[in-house]
């Protein structure tokens, strides 16, 4: 194994505590801590990396100082999921460092919550007894089309059976027999239009007079 200087390990460890190490760097740390010549300065962190090694026993053998470090990170919301599972494993076993015991209830409680299971099983019968609230869209389309055709057909039939109604124009249309009669009808029609026009004009003048009076009163 290559020799690694203290400064390099210290840097890697610092990065590790901050969850900033790459997989390669973590592998380097594991390699370092799983050999015999570990610098006494880093001895405290050794159990941590041994536990993370997949070939190692799962029995937690973490020192209080490492747990302290992890707890600090945990409360700062800076731990990785792996670090949090190490904390859970440590605090849910029996041999917890005396000074760390006040933190145990948190992890032990979370562990209890995580074991809660739904008593009721998933049952198909359950679903079959539940009234269906959603109707298939295809059937909705079919039903809508059927209603459209029935109602539409009814109105078409109604319209077809109705007797022809004479329009006003048709009802009043009179075919004159000679030019004199035609002139007479034309004059009558013009007189009627003239009456209507005069009536309208008179109403307009009346309205304008009212407005002018109102204006005068306002001034």
């Amino acid at each position: 194994m290559r020799t690694m200087d203290t400064l390099y390990i210290e840097t890697l460890l610092e990065k590790f505590w901050n969850a900033e190490t790459t997989d390669q760097e973590e592998a380097t740390l594991k390699e370092y801590f799983n050999q015999d010549a570990v610098d006494p300065v880093f001895e405290y962190a050794k159990p941590f990396f041994v536990v993370m090694d997949e070939s190692a026993e799962i029995v937690p053998d973490l020192t209080a100082s490492v747990m302290h470090k992890l707890l600090e990170k945990y409360y700062q919301a800076e731990t990785t999921l792996e670090e949090e599972s190490i904390l859970k494993a440590y605090f849910t076993q029996e041999s917890i460092s005396e000074e760390l015991k006040p933190h145990a209830p948190i992890f032990r409680s979370f562990e209890m919550v995580a074991h809660v299971e739904m008593k009721k099983g998933l049952s198909i019968d359950h679903l079959k007894t539940k009234p269906t609230r959603i109707i298939s869209l295809t059937w909705v389309k079919v039903a809508a089309a059927a209603v459209f055709f029935v109602v539409g057909g009814y109105f078409v039939m109604q319209h077809a059976n109705q007797p022809e109604v004479k329009t006003m124009a048709k009802a009043r249309y009179i075919e004159p027999d000679n030019p004199e009669e035609a002139l007479e009808y034309t004059l009558k029609a013009l007189a009627m239009v003239s009456r209507k026009y005069k009536k309208g004009e008179a109403q307009l003048l009346e309205g304008m007079r009212t407005i002018n009076e109102a204006k005068g009163a306002g001034n």
Binding site: I106, A114, V116, E117, M118, K130
Partner: protein
Amino acid sequence: MQNENNLFKQIEVFKNKLFRYALNMLKNELDAEDVIQELLVRIWQRKDQFDLIENKEAWCMTVTRNLCIDKIRTRKQNSQDISDYHFIADHGAPPDIITEDRENLKIVMDVLNSLPENQKEIIHLRDVEGYTYKEIAELTGLSEDQVKVNLFRARQRLKEKLKNFKY
């Protein structure tokens, strides 16, 4: 029938996670079961589309969350009178649980229940279910930074409340 069984097998894997999430939000076992039942009905009615969903767990968690929010909005009164603590103590505790753990659970649950809803939800998703920040952000609609801030506050509150704790 084979398809039906496959459908339920897929959900069975994370059924308890969904239930715990609903329980955490609703504080009531029966309401939580109702929500899971409603979720199943929705899946059942759209089982063809459900098969196409890539991350079924994430989808189910999101629907469960929405159903819980609907339930909270529509229920006439807050049914927190049935404490989830008793339920968890009865169903989550191992048979050889010590009395101390039961008592401590009540204290921790009281602290958690005193947290704002988003903090309570986030600490549950992270510390109980082990979701990543990214997954929690997607589920709650918050940014990853907001998730971390809420988690930080929730854990600080726990630390503060439990610092003089005797074990």
